[in-house]
Subunit: 132 residues, 2 copies
């Protein structure tokens, strides 16, 4: 059993190739084999969002604070608030983030397949983001 105490892992900021705006990552804990899941908190400042991307095994998001947007390609943008949970199926092209006026924090629960948790695509343009 491994206990990671609050405050023992420094906060980090997400890389601008795959995110727009200020996005903070607070990693929690990584499973060991045969488990293959990683958990972490991600905080999007207003206007911030992921790039379009997919997950080989899907991803669960649990909104822990604030109010944000999620969108699958070809579907309308949806609003998510604290307490909501989102399931993104394997291979579905999508993005998630804050709204243009409110910050959003979610816990991301992501399983790996052959060591790969996600595949990054192009950034979400301002037009795509605001149009929804």
């Amino acid at each position: 059993m491994k206990v990671q105490k609050a405050g023992s892992t420094p906060s980090g900021y997400a890389e601008p190739e795959h995110f727009t705006g200020q996005v903070r990552r607070d990693r929690l804990i990584m499973a060991e084999a045969p488990g293959c899941v990683q958990t972490g908190l991600v905080t999007f400042e207003p206007g911030a969002r992921t790039a379009w991307h997919t997950h080989p095994a899907g991803q669960t998001l649990i909104i822990t604070a604030g109010f944000g947007w999620v969108q699958a390609e070809g579907a309308p943008r949806r609003e998510v608030a604290s307490g909501d949970a989102v399931w993104i199926p394997a291979g579905e092209k999508h993005w998630h983030g804050a709204t243009d006026t409110t910050a959003m924090t979610h816990l991301a629960v992501t399983e790996y397949i052959d060591g790969v948790a996600g595949n990054w695509l192009e950034l979400v343009t301002d037009q795509e983001y605001l149009r929804g």
Copy 2:
């Protein structure tokens, strides 16, 4: 993409064969294949705890409120507080719950192997629980 809004799933109470005391379950969302992870919040009233059990793929716990205890068999009981994360390896016999005086809520992140998330064993006696 599936969005489970807060308030859309009724709270439930855990079965007394596998838990001591009052334990509330608020299920979040279940992955779809090839994902195999389930997430849910579990709230232990003071004195409440799981039975001894194991997980075939391990389990991640993220303490979201309160203060509790976790123990692996043969190791000392450990204290966990809001913001701490715990990794329980596959097959490790353990229990988790509130302390005798304080409630504890954790998010449980559990992967399935062949549809099995956990294997229940005997209840944690008051002597085991309080001795630590």
